[in-house]
């Protein structure tokens, strides 16, 4: 708490309009979540006592808002309400799709909220994250390695990407933590070497690219991460890492050519993966033409599209559609369930909320004063954006389906914790960026 500066009265006053705006947005989000939850109880004949997740949500929102007012008075006023809106929407959806998971998901909301607030209590320059980048990343990698040895799957089938936390049926997915640690590592590394990356370039035909001397270590660390993920068949996260890496490399080097090269590499990697991994070949084939196998391999995606179609413009209403027809709808296909029950209006709402969240994150980056903070804010924003784009695009058959979660909304504790950590870091960064020098 040493870095916390006591606030002067005029300081709080200066930021009062922003705090009011955040409060208003939280209230609006809370009203939306409450109305939907009441509608769900009516549609499903559930007792009023089932409103408790909304109460927990409201306590988290109110408590979080109050604490953030004290610790980060100059924060971005949109980040927290948007994150809470999407999380509350996710709670509605889980209470509707798999009521038995509501307790777990709500508990993870409390854990995520605690993590977010804990971050605001840490030194705000985030040196703890920047200075020990190798330690953090290797620690994260070690956890990921553990999943190869003692990994489990809570569903007992599928890739073993989780670690049992030693009590109940509580599991953690280390690749979720690794997402943040990798972005932090890249931000820290590029921030330190960025200037050299721009100056010390080598010619590659008509183009100039950063010298291998600077790219070598980061490529190595990143490569290990991706190889472990591919080993674990967590190809969605591997793709996510690749895209985030390319985006951060572009921001650090300013070389658009690297993006072209990255895209070419991604296509080559996809072609190789298509040949090497049956699961990749299957997913790509299903994506390209799911209709002939609509009763077998293409079932999930075809049913997902039918669910989107059933929603139409206004949707069927919460609890009134049949999204349960899609297998594992609560994690991979949460977006399709939203499309069915809230319609196009709902999906545009989710897309819009995520897009605004990402734009605000990029704004935090633009206003940052340290290269590390800039790259970290931009990297975390791109992480959220690409993850959302990958799964929404997958559900809508715009890209092959990758098993990543829809941030804040999909069922999954590790994912929710990661999303809250990202928002927590962005809030901390926005406080520094938004302050007058």
């Amino acid at each position: 708490m040493t870095s916390l500066t006591p606030h002067r009265a005029d300081d709080l006053e200066e930021h009062a309009p922003a705090a009011r705006r955040e409060r208003l947005l939280l209230a609006l989000g809370g009203a939306f979540i409450l109305v939907n939850h009441v509608a769900l109880l009516l549609a499903r004949d559930r007792p009023v006592s089932h409103l408790w997740p909304v109460m927990v949500w409201a306590l988290c929102a109110a408590g979080g808002h109050a604490l953030l007012n004290r610790r980060l008075p100059a924060r971005d006023p949109l980040l927290f309400p948007l994150a809470m809106l999407l999380t509350g929407w996710g709670l509605n959806l889980i209470a509707r799709l798999v009521p038995s998971y509501t307790v777990r998901q709500t508990s993870w909301l409390v854990v995520g909220m605690a993590a977010l607030l804990a971050l605001t209590a840490l030194p705000r320059d985030l040196r703890w994250l920047r200075r020990y980048r190798y330690t953090w990343l290797i620690g994260g990698l070690a956890l990921l390695f553990l999943t190869i040895l003692i990994g489990e799957n809570p569903a007992d089938t599928g890739p073993r990407l989780w670690l049992w936390l030693g009590f109940g049926r509580v599991y953690y997915q280390p690749s979720e933590l690794l997402k943040i640690l990798l972005v932090a590592f890249l931000a820290s590394y590029f921030a330190e070497h960025g200037r050299y990356m721009r100056q010390d370039t080598v010619r590659l035909g008509p183009w100039r690219v950063p010298s291998p001397a600077f790219l070598g270590p980061v490529l190595l660390m990143w490569g290990v991460c991706v190889i472990v993920l591919v080993w674990q068949r967590d190809l969605g996260t591997a793709t996510l890492f690749f895209v985030v890496f390319m985006a951060m490399l572009y921001l650090a080097s300013g070389q658009a050519l690297l993006l072209v090269g990255g895209a070419v590499l991604l296509i080559i990697a996809s072609a190789v993966a298509y040949r090497l991994f049956d699961v990749v070949a299957l997913r790509v084939d299903i994506w390209w033409n799911p209709w002939p196998t609509a009763k077998a391999g293409g079932y999930q995606i075809v049913q997902s599209l039918i669910a989107v179609a059933s929603g139409g413009v206004l949707g069927q209403g919460i609890g009134q559609g049949q999204p349960g027809i899609i297998p594992v709808v609560h994690s991979d296909f949460a977006f399709a369930a939203i499309a069915e029950e809230w319609g196009l209006v709902g999906t545009l709402g989710v897309i819009g909320a995520l897009a605004v969240l990402v734009v605000r994150g990029m704004r935090v980056a633009a206003q940052a004063r340290q290269p590390f903070h800039m790259l970290l804010a931009a990297g975390l924003s791109v992480l959220l954006a690409v993850q959302g784009l990958l799964i929404m695009g997958g559900v809508l058959r715009l890209v092959p389906l990758t098993g990543v979660t829809l941030p804040f909304i999909s069922y999954g504790g590790s994912s929710l914790l990661t999303s809250f950590t990202v928002v927590g870091l962005l809030l901390v960064l926005s406080e520094r960026g938004g302050r007058a020098p």
Binding site: M197, A252, S310, Q322, L344, A355, M374, A378, L396, R397
Partner: protein
Amino acid sequence: MSDSPIHSRDLGRMTLALLIAFALIATGAAYWGVIAAEGLRTRDDNARNVLAEQRIARGAILDRTGEPLALSEQGATGVYVRRYPHPAAASAVGYYSLTYGVAGIEAAYDAALRGDEGRDKADILLDELLHRSPAGSDVRATLDLGVQEAVVAALEGRAGAAVVLDAAAGDVLALVSLPGYDPNTLDAQWDALAADRAASPLLNRATAGLYQPGGAFQTVVLAALLGAQTDLSDGGERLLSRTVEDGRAPVVVGDLTLGCTGDPPGDVLTLANAYAYGCPAPFVAAFEAGLTGDFLWERLRVLGLLDASALAGFQTAAARITQPGSAASEAWAALLAGQGALTVSPLQVAQLAAAIANGGSAAPLRLVDAVHGPGVSDWQAVAGMRQPVAMLRAEVARALERAMGYAAEANAATQQAQGDGYTLYGHSALAYAGPDETPYAWFVGFARSSEGGHAQTMVAVVVVEGERDPAAAARVAGAAFAAAHAR
């Protein structure tokens, strides 16, 4: 900012790229959710359609006495299950399957049964918005379960078809096709039913089965011979009592040798005797008695034998044939013997018999007479064409009735349809079909009763497959008449 490794221009470009990607996702959501939605929603594998269907309180189908033939019962999960208390009525009632669609009355009155009829657009829209399942209308069939079950029982599991009509109203009292199916277990047995090509249990033989008429065609030829007479003021007596040399002589048509179905008294027969005992010779030689091909063909058309009969919602069939040339004497002989290219459905023949019983005109056939909407106090008569269709001159019909009345008294096989309380008019015949010359027994006739001053005429047409004894068909008709008379 000058020493910053990041240009805000690059951040801006990255943000723009991400926003474009989000816009693409929004476009994709709009495409599948609105533009391509219709095609996706109507796909067979959209289980929502089945689930929505299961929530419809589909109306009941009742027989004319109010006995339920089909009804929907709600299970614990709110899902409705269709139940058929009397599987014997299946060939009329049909089936309602989420997998295999609808047939019979279930198909003909599907819109009324599922509640799509009789609601205005605003109600439909409101119901859809509030996810209220529509309640369907009940449908009252003209079918008489007692008659239907009596016919099924009398067929004793044999393959065949029967149509029983109330001649004046055109009401179908029984519509039987065997072998059939149990609509309660249709989904489970569909594959076996559909694969059984020999027995064809899914084919409705009464409406769409095309049978060789054989000797049953004699009624048609007799109608044409009578129709060719300009003066029938004697009731056709002159023609019917005309003697025919070698009247009981066998007739050879192709590989078949056709004889009488009964044992006529003596060698010299009147035309009425030949008809009564089913002797083919005078009918095959009808052209020698003055009938022409063109005249006969025109009669076939007027009697409805060249077109499928109309029965709402039922698939009906007619033989697709063209008139033989005037020189094709063999084709004409086969046709006159009922062993030619012309095949007929029991429904077509029943309508002809009804016209004979009705003085020459036949009421349009119907299987449903009223619909009862939810929240409506009374049954509403089903709208439809009720104007009788003239098929025969009244004198021709009367003369045919005389011939059939005489046949019912004379022929021992036809008498099997006789019972207490009604006067029988009928004709028994045999037909042969296919390369193995499978025999079919026919009965075509009607029964008049006038108990308590209430005149009623029941028509019955029966075909029993694989049967050489014409009495077998007459016995089934007798069971139908007895059941109809008893009600």
